[in-house]
Each structure stands twice: as C-alpha cells, then as structure tokens.
Symmetry: C2
Subunit: 354 residues, 2 copies
C-alpha cells in the first residue's frame, strides 16, 4: 500500500473510495455512543445536560437534536487498536470512551480560552451557559474519563490510565504553548510542530494505542500504534489548519477565516511567514501587527500564505506524516482487516473536508 | 477519647495542646513537599511556575518566597491512612501528592469561577496571569495527580485512581451546585449540606482512605477511614464558613466579610435565613436582593446570622460531625499512634483559626 497521491481542488489528498472510512467511523459510533451516554449518566444533571448538548445530542433546551457531533476519530482508533492485537473491539471500549471524554474536556476548555462562540455550527457551552459551566463540565469529563478506564476491570487498566493521564498533560502543554504564541512574533516552525505534537498528536497517539494497552499487548506493538497515532495526529492538525483557511465554512462549521482573523500561528501560516521573499515578509509583518485584523483584507492574507508556499508545504507535510504513520504500522505484525481500516482512517483524516 | 468541649471566643472548639496537630502537619509537609516538587518537574515550564507560585513557594517572578502555602491537611490524612493500616507512611505518599494536586486544581479553577483575586494573602493565579493560565494549570495538576498515582507501582494503584477520580467528580458536582445556589433564593439547609459533602467532604474522604487503599487494606477499614474523612470534611467547611464571617482576616488571608459581600449561601447563613423570627426573615430578604451588597451593612448582617442562631448551630454541627468522624474510626481496629494523630488532626480542623 502507498499513500494516495492525487490532490483535490483544495490541494489536499483524495481518499480511495474503496477504503472510505465513514463505515469504520459509523460502526465505531454505534458501539461507543450508547456506552458514552451511559457513562454520562454518572454526572450531575447540569454537567450531563451541557455535555450532551456539546456532543450534539440535544439542543440547549435538552430536546433531542439532529445536530452533528464530532467525527469521533479517537474512539474509532481506540477500538481498532484493540482489534489490531487480536482482541475484540469491546476490550478497547473503555479506552474509546475515555479518549472521547478527554477530547471533549479539551474542546470545552479551549473554547473558553479562545473565546470561540461557535463549534460544529452551534453555540459553544460557555457562550450558552457561561464560563464557569464550561470549566466545570470539562473538569467532570476529565475525571469521568479516568473513572471509566479504571473501572473497566482490565488487568491493564492502570497502564491505560497512565497513558491517558500523560497524554492529557501533553495536550495541556500544547495548549499552553499555543496561547503563548499569541503574544510572540518569533514563533518558529519547529516550535509550532512541537505545539501541535502536544495539542493534537498526544491524544491521537494515546487513542491509537489504548485499546492494545487494555488488551495487554507487548510494548513494541503499543509503541508502533502510538507512533502511528502521533503522526496521524500531526497530519490531522495540518489538515485542520488548511481547512481553516481554504475549507468550506458550510462544511467545517467554523466562521470563515477565523484562524486568520485571530492572527493564529497555524502551521501553514508559520511556514509561509518564515519564507524569504515579498509574500513571506508581508505575512511576518502582518502577524506582528497589534491591530485588530481587517476582515476585508483576509482573502488577500490567505492568498499570501499560498503565494509564500504555505499551502503546498502543509499539503506535502500532511502526506509525509501519513507515510510515516503507515511505516510505523508496517513495522509490527497486525492482522489485515484492522490494519486496512487503520490505514484507511489515517487517509480519511488527511482527505476530509470538514 | 471524647471531643473537646470548651469553646473559644469565636464560638469554636479549642484543641487540646497535648494533641496539637501542627507537628503531624509539619512532619507530613517535610515528606510531601519534596515529592510534590519533584512531581511538578514534569509540567511544562509555564504551568510549573504558576503551580509553584500558587502553592506559596515562589513569588510571581519566580523568586523563592516566604509566603505561606496551604495547611496541607489532605496529604497529612493520606499518610496517616497508610499508617492506620500498618503500612509505612511512604506507601501513602503517591496518594498524598495526588490529593494535594487535586485540591489545588480545584482552588485554581474555583478562583476563576468565583472571581476571587486573593488567596492566602496573595493574588490568585488568574489575577496575575489571566483566566486561560489558571484553567490550564489546574487541568495539568488534575492529569498529573492520576499520573503520580498510577505510576506508584502499587498493585492497588488502579483502586486508588478510581477513588480519586470519583472524589474529583463529586467535588465538581459540589461546585456546580454551589454556583447554582447563586441564582436561587430557596436553598435549603439539606441542599447546602449536600453541596458541602461534595465540594469539601469528597476529597477529604478520599484523602483519609487513599493511603489505606494503596496498602491493600480491607474494604471495612478503608470505608471507616473514608467515613471519618467525609465527616471531618463537612466540619472543615463549617469552620471555614464561620471563619469567613467571624475569623480574623489577618489570619485567614481572605478579605473581611467576603462571603457575605458575595451573598454566599454558606451553612451558617442558610441555617439562619431559614429560621422563623425577625432576624431570619430579614436575612432571607437580604439574600434575595439582587442589588450589590452594601459593605457598610455587612457587620449588621453578620450580627443577624448570629441572632438567628446560625453561629451556634454551625459551631454545634461542627462538633457533632467531629464526633461522628471519631465514631467511624472507633469501629475498626487501628493502631494507637496513627489513631491519636487522626483524631488530633480532626480536632485541629475544627479549632483552627485560619
């Protein structure tokens, strides 16, 4: 197998329809959603209602909602990672619930910190119920994640809990750096990649290994799966950054050019602003400006990022990370059906449009 | 042994100097502080600096500080709880670090939610570095707590982690209720006690049991220790509430009458406002007012709480909880030196002036 090479009009990779992973994601959601819902029953009524709203299951008034939830890539990885070592998907289920809870804890807190009022086309929890609610609901989800894992009855529960706690700390570290970038004008590409490895890579890495850890797999295998997830995680964030500039807001659910508007040091932007030549220099100057970004100028800024090579570099880097992910996987014996699904899920992450 | 009966001028119990627990607290701090400091080394530089400042170890500029930290009652309980089942204090050490980390996670987040700018005579982390920093440093401490516990190598680490995660969820539930009380005028004493059982009782209960859990003690013993901690926790909060009204701000480090100023539904206030008669009725009316509290009127409000019996009830209730705590302990075989220290620590909590 080799990574897909043709590029779509947004400059990203097109997946092979034969390995289209929505099936994997849907099957995983069918297993995970009821278990996640059952886990949320332990929360106090207020936090539970806010968590269910945040997940897209209800409206703010508590009515059943047709709103979309997340893609649930992390729980799908967790189930696949159990199957990758010959265990039934169910062995990975507590891990799948736990990583999805940690992911949503981080979204709830990030929305507060970034002041974002919209996520997945809907108002964020802090925008509806206030900052304290979003902090507490996030806290409750983080505690619940460990509880679900440690109650799984797996003899390897403590190992899985340790993996999750360590990934959570890395995730927080990434967000700390991301926030620090806001007040800096000298962020390097390496620093930006390190931030992304924490903020997005760490939890995807843990997701891709946690099912295997719960199944008691040897360290070489869990390590390979963790490396697969870490590379896929960076590719995931690169694509997120690309979609934030050139994606369709109707599909992504994010306001158009919101990253540019916030002068965010995303990967394509950081690459572009570090390039010699007029486009890169103009971007570096614009990033350093303290004034509120002029919305009318944002299409021009996006064009400068492309002109300075930010779009091409990011597209290629996402492809390179995907190849690294697939190489990591190739180094250990993994039965074919889950291996194919892992590879397809990685490709989907790089070709998705939302 | 029986609880001390004489009351101090603030209407609280005086401890027996022969069982003065500052020695226990100091000895515990001598063991816990270096281990806690080592655990903090894993955090990113920013979160670590903020955590060390929050703990009173440094100034905001990172200079070594002579500022006081907390009393560290929770880690002392954790070490005692290992000794209570015949294990060395060191067996409880990962638990001691973990409960202290969870406690400080909750303080960091609570200060954001309550908008408190001062704690222990110093500016709070969000007041110095902003809300996102306080959220992230809190998140990092919570993740680190589980990590320390699950890396302890104890065969009972998963049990201890589960206990801690469940206590954290209860603590969050308590804070959710406390916040909900702000916009209500019909809070009952039972609801208030339930909130306190979560917000303060749950983590003290876990602290008093976690060392024994790490030592693999039988459920009857860990249950008795947990019950001891839960009762002591409620007594602890009652005394906190009393000190918030009648304590010496120079000792407590909190601005005078801050709870009253915020019209907080503390236990003595909730009791007093539910009493028939002019004082209780006047308080209920005052609590229901939406206007900003008039600071000049606060001494009169404090006097009304006392006149309606709030001070006496709270003082008696703290004593009653202490007796319940001691009865719980009496029901299981615990060797004498740690038993005495547990009892003395409980009494100290009820007689402290800060």
């Amino acid at each position: 197998m080799h990574p897909t090479k043709t590029q779509g009009k947004a400059g990203r990779f097109r997946g092979d329809p034969a390995t289209a992973p929505p099936t994997t994601l849907r099957q995983s959601r069918d297993i995970v959603t009821p278990a996640l819902s059952a886990a949320l029953e332990r929360l106090d009524e207020t936090s539970r209602a806010q968590a269910r709203y945040h997940l897209g299951w209800t409206t703010a008034d508590g009515e059943t909602s047709t709103g979309e939830g997340g893609k649930a890539v992390r729980p799908a990885l967790a189930l696949l990672s159990a199957r990758a070592v010959g265990a039934p998907a169910e062995v990975g289920l507590p891990g799948a619930i736990a990583v999805e809870l940690v992911h949503n804890f981080s979204l709830l807190h990030d929305d507060v910190m970034d002041g974002d009022t919209l996520r997945r086309h809907r108002r964020t929890v802090w925008a509806v119920w206030g900052t304290p609610s979003a902090i507490l609901t996030g806290d409750a989800l983080l505690a619940l994640a460990q509880e679900v894992l440690l109650e799984s009855g797996s003899p390897y529960a403590a190992d899985a809990g340790r993996l999750l706690a360590s990934a959570t700390r890395d995730l927080v570290r990434g967000q700390v750096r991301d926030l620090a970038f806001e007040s800096r004008t000298d962020v390097t590409l390496d620093e930006c990649l390190d931030m992304v490895a924490g903020k997005t890579g760490a939890l995807l890495s843990a997701s891709a290994a946690i099912g295997a850890v719960l199944a008691g797999a040897p360290a070489a295998t869990t390590g390979a799966l963790a490396a697969f997830g870490a590379h896929v995680g960076i590719a995931f964030q690169i694509v997120d950054d690309l979609l934030g500039i050139w994606g369709d807001p109707a599909l992504t659910g994010k306001p158009v050019f919101s990253d540019l508007c916030a002068r965010k040091k995303t990967l394509p932007m950081t690459y572009a602003a570090s390039q010699p030549g007029p486009a890169g220099e103009r971007l570096a100057e614009w990033l350093a400006s303290a004034e509120k970004a002029d919305e009318a100028a944002l299409p021009e800024i996006a064009a400068l990022v492309a002109a300075a090579g930010g779009k091409d570099w990011a597209t290629e880097e996402a492809g390179r990370r995907l190849r690294l992910a697939e190489s990591a996987l190739a180094a250990v014996p993994i039965p074919d059906p889950p291996r194919d699904e892992l590879v397809a899920l990685g490709r989907f992450i790089v070709t998705r449009e939302a």
